[in-house]
């Protein structure tokens, strides 16, 4: 763990409304604790509130009430802007710049050293095509370019919204290895996915459905508790339990 002994993220009674005044309550009374220095998977179907939770954590979401602390500070605190890396679901890099130009700009903003540009290019395996314009890249290359931006300045917490979607299996494996390497070096990671199979890649899981936390434990604990064979089975078992109780 770096700079911080407590958990990476703490939510207490978190409530988030999306879409402004006539918006919808996406998260209503969530309690959650994400430990530091681990690779935590945020899994759930599309529409379960994963992106909204991540936007709240990085301080991009308006209408957030309740307690939400990130690295011991209130979410959105100016100091966190140096310490949290965020990758949006759609790759948010400039299509009319080269990968390297994008990285150089964001490195300036983060106050990261110039040498970071080459380091993150190697980490996402884009070094050979660093001078290509983002607009001509494939979807997978573009999302890795977007990921590379978040690695600049070695943030303490990485919030990655579906970073492995649409990638080929080899690249996906490589990225998960990279995430594990970062966690070993002390980075806390919150990585979302709607693909339940990716549960096996994470140190710890948070299962979400309809804006609530269904489970928050390790995969073996989850499987033992539900008697399911995999994360998808466990998810279904938990939903059925809930529905039976209701």
């Amino acid at each position: 763990m770096r700079n911080n002994q407590g958990p990476a993220i703490v939510a207490r009674g978190l409530r988030v409304v999306r879409g402004g005044r006539r918006g919808v309550v996406v998260i209503d009374g969530m309690d959650l604790e994400v430990p530091a220095g681990q690779l935590v998977g945020l899994l759930g179907p599309s529409g379960s509130g994963k992106t909204t939770l991540m936007r709240a954590v990085v301080g991009a979401q308006a209408d957030v009430t309740g307690t939400l602390e990130v690295l011991g500070l209130p979410a959105g605190h100016p100091e966190l802007r140096h310490r949290v890396g965020y990758v949006t679901q759609a790759p948010s890099v400039y299509g009319d710049l080269t990968i390297r130009e994008n990285l150089r700009y964001f490195a300036h903003l983060m106050g990261a050293p110039e040498t970071d540009v080459d380091r993150v290019l190697r980490e996402v395996d884009l070094a050979p095509i660093g001078d290509r314009r983002v607009g001509v890249l494939s979807g997978g290359e573009r999302s890795r370019a977007s990921l590379a931006v978040a690695l600049l300045g070695t943030p303490d917490l990485l919030v990655l919204d579906e970073p492995t979607v649409g990638l080929d299996p080899v690249l996906r494996r490589d990225l998960w290895l990279l995430f594990h390497r970062l966690a070993e070096q002390g980075t806390s990671l919150l990585v979302s996915s709607h693909v339940m199979d990716e549960a096996t890649r994470c140190d710890r899981l948070v299962l979400m459905r309809a804006g609530r936390v269904l489970a928050d434990e390790t995969l073996p604990e989850l499987l033992a508790r539900t008697g399911a064979a995999d994360a998808e089975g466990a998810f279904l078992a938990l939903v059925e339990q809930e529905e039976a109780a209701a």
Binding site: G20, G59, L97, L109
Partner: protein, 244 residues
């Protein structure tokens, strides 16, 4: 106010444009084309281009720059890059001033190209100081940039963004003395025009065309500058780190 990150942002915007040569060509040549048409129409009465040329030197670039900046910032919003920027240490002022700086540079180049075209190709012979005319024309184009930046905050879709120009600029053009001298307009419209930035931009250029010097137009130039600062402040304040 202006920091290292302002310049990084301005340089990034210029890099983006460098990869888009056609846009640069349009920015530089489109106002020339429009002015050329007017000059050609009134080729037999060169007095018209002498009188109205300086005014058009300000108006055409302003229209182009307004559209470009309002679309540029909308694009940042929709591509998710603005959301990402707002989670980094960049200040909101860095973002707005970075854009303003990059486009002001472009507006200056555009003003010089257009004036050269007006004088050497269209034969414009204004009574006032030519450099002063260029200066005010560029100031008008910069005004267009910053109004575009401020207006883009109000647009959430592309359809809305492209209508910001007719909404913000056309009423100002109509009441700014282009169709009818302002003192002949209905009282309420005259009051309206007095509160609008473009009125001063057009007034200064019209006066310079008629032979006014710096002393005569400094009030109007001051008003343009005040509106530029105001629009920048508005653009900075309406930019949100957190969005719904």
């Amino acid at each position: 106010m202006i920091t290292r990150l302002t310049f990084s942002t301005a340089s990034r915007v210029l890099h983006q444009l460098r990869h888009d040569r056609r846009t640069i060509a349009l920015i530089m040549l489109l106002p020339c084309l429009l002015l050329g048409i007017v000059a050609w129409m009134f080729a037999d009465t060169p007095m018209v281009i002498d009188q109205f040329g300086p005014l058009l030197l300000g108006v055409f670039p302003m229209l182009v720059m307004f559209l470009i900046t309002s679309v540029a910032t909308l694009r940042e919003r929709q591509s998710g890059t603005l959301e990402r920027l707002m989670t980094t240490p960049i200040r909101r002022a860095d973002f707005v001033l970075g854009y303003a700086l990059a486009f002001a540079l472009l507006a200056t180049l555009q003003g010089l190209v257009l004036t050269a075209f007006a004088v050497w190709v269209c034969g414009m012979d204004a009574r006032g100081d030519l450099w002063l005319i260029v200066g005010v024309a560029v100031l008008d184009a910069v005004l267009g940039c910053v109004l575009g930046l401020a207006a883009s905050a109000l647009a959430t879709t592309e359809f809305q963004a492209v209508q910001m120009m007719p909404l913000f600029i056309f009423p100002q053009l109509l009441t700014g003395g282009l169709l009818m001298p302002r003192d002949q307009m209905p009282q309420v419209l005259e009051w309206f025009s007095r509160a609008m930035p473009l009125t001063y931009g057009m007034e200064a250029l019209r006066d310079l065309a008629a032979g006014a010097d710096l002393g005569d137009v400094q009030g109007a130039v001051g008003a343009i500058c005040a509106f530029i600062v105001g629009a920048l402040a508005l653009a900075i304040l309406t930019l949100r780190r957190r969005t719904p």
